[in-house]
Symmetry: C2
Subunit: 333 residues, 2 copies
């Protein structure tokens, strides 16, 4: 083929340095927020300094994790929460990491349109992220997106996670307040017991409270909590709230309870403990991600150790220590 | 309370240095193998050198991964394979990492007794391991247990994994030949499609072939493979074998196919590629485990970085680079 080649990039707006973008994020620009989150998501090295600066300017937001099995109605609850929290004067941010979320395009079109109306009417910032961490848990970029919204003045910031697998429990290391959503009729015992999800709940919400089997779900949760399953020993009495996201039933009460939980965290000293745990997990997770990335990007980097291990001249433990740059430690008893 | 204190350890046999144990493993002692695997499982630093030595003496075994959803009949298949492979003159090793496996005490007593008879009659070595890796996948100790059996002359060595979650796909990085087991009537589409399990199969086995709905399961697998889902482009035509582990139906054919797959790996050069991938994954996984362990064991170690991150004076990325001992890299475009 011949002819005049028109670069597809010819009409693209000029690339804005991340440092400039960060300034605009701090000033609250929605476009800058969206672009900065995209840079975090694509892992651009150029954006690291700006993201670091935004991290240092963050730390004011109340971070809420919302989890529960697929089908429990997480996105509908988030929608209702955006409405209720916005009505209370909050500037709400949402990061949805659930690929089945309507925010991520995973649900039927009608749902998505309704969500968009809610978002537009309330000046909330909602973003879905597809990426997952190397470590099976929350991706580094998810936490960076929370930083961006935090630095831009959003609070609370809701992380909507996919309610599947052990990884789910990791939301505890990313949120101050964990809301676990259960739906009537989805197999109450299984959905609540699974993956230790009872233990991580600060607030239990039962969706579709207008359904006839909602009280049975509430009773099942109460029963399991009476067995001691749901109680973290911080003096907080984990409430169980039946709500209807569609009719708005008890949505104000849920907002109030979320606020009360934050007050409790502050008063009990638990906030500092949680933030410490969040920071610790994040530093270690970031280190492991960086470590993996170094070897993913440069196949040559571990070639000599790899050859030695393949030839059985060296064992994987010794090779790992060389990669880490550690001296071989002396054996301990 | 007063009285003569009798140490509970008084009657324990003397602790044998791991180096001596390793010698006995190489000589084939079952007791030494069991003790060495226990030391790997407990992560004793004292055993590292001996385990490294056993790794260097390993590399001869054919490693077979067996996976499939819970209830597919993995343990019964393993039992039947032990019988058939032993009859063919093989010294079979099994590491079961499925907590619901009868080998791990997860099933009803009758199952377990039957397993034990099979094991005793065939001189196979079967061990269950409860530990899971920090990274959600196969634990370091699982791979070390395979080394121990390999160095002791067992081959093939079967890893029976719990067929749940994305992690399952990691068996590809630990085994030469992956057998995926499906059972009739368990929701064929879901069990096969889930977690990309079709892509990892070198051999599909359909259990309970005497059941009336077994042909439908075979047809469903064939249909999905015709769509291109199951084909790795190495010239191997992934077979689908309906078997009955109880009656022994086609068990010899399965053993033959497993052998043919190994021949194919050798002839095509795929064996070297897989072993390279296995070693690479293992080195990086070990490094991340060692890294996490260092900070789990010594809380003080990241205290100053943690404080700086909590005070928002430093971002997690910078802290991670300090922990890794890396200079901050210059930004790239």
């Amino acid at each position: 083929m011949t002819g005049v080649v028109v670069s597809p990039r010819a009409n693209k707006p000029a690339y804005k340095p991340s440092a400039d973008l960060a300034e605009e994020v701090l000033a609250g620009s929605r476009l800058a927020i969206a672009r900065m989150i995209s840079r975090a998501e694509s892992g651009r090295a150029e954006a690291e300094d700006a993201l670091a600066e935004l991290y240092r300017r963050s730390g004011k937001a109340h971070i809420i994790g919302i989890t529960g099995v697929p089908g429990a109605g997480k996105s509908t609850l988030v929608s209702a929460l955006i409405k209720a929290l916005s009505a209370g004067g909050h500037k709400v941010g949402v990061i949805a990491v659930d690929p089945s979320s309507p925010f991520s395009g995973g649900a039927i079109m009608g749902d998505r349109l309704r969500m968009n109306e809610v978002i537009d009417a309330n000046q909330a910032f909602v973003r879905s992220m597809a990426t997952r961490g190397h470590l099976g848990g929350l991706a580094r970029s998810t936490l960076q997106a929370v930083d961006v919204l935090d630095a831009a003045g959003y609070s609370p910031i809701i992380i909507e996670t996919v309610g599947v697998g052990q990884d789910e429990v990791e939301i505890v290391t990313a949120a101050h307040t964990v809301v676990v959503l259960s739906a009537p009729g989805l197999g109450d015992d299984i959905q609540a017991i699974k993956a230790g999800i009872l233990e991580i709940a600060d607030i239990h919400v039962v969706s579709k409270a207008d359904k006839p089997d909602a009280p049975a779900t509430v009773a099942a949760l109460k029963g399991m909590m009476a067995l001691g399953a749901g109680i973290r020993d911080t003096g907080w009495n984990t409430p169980i709230l039946p709500v209807s996201s569609v009719s708005g039933l008890r949505m104000d009460e849920l907002c109030k309870t979320i606020g009360e939980h934050l007050d409790h965290l502050r008063a009990s000293g638990e906030l500092a403990a949680r933030e410490r745990n969040m920071a610790r997990t994040r530093i270690l997770g970031t280190a492991k991600d960086l470590f993996q990335k170094r070897f993913d990007e440069d196949a040559e980097k571990l070639e000599s150790e790899l050859q030695a291990v393949l030839k059985r001249e060296m064992d994987p433990h010794a090779a790992a220590q060389i990669l880490l740059g550690w001296e071989k430690e002396s054996p301990e008893k």
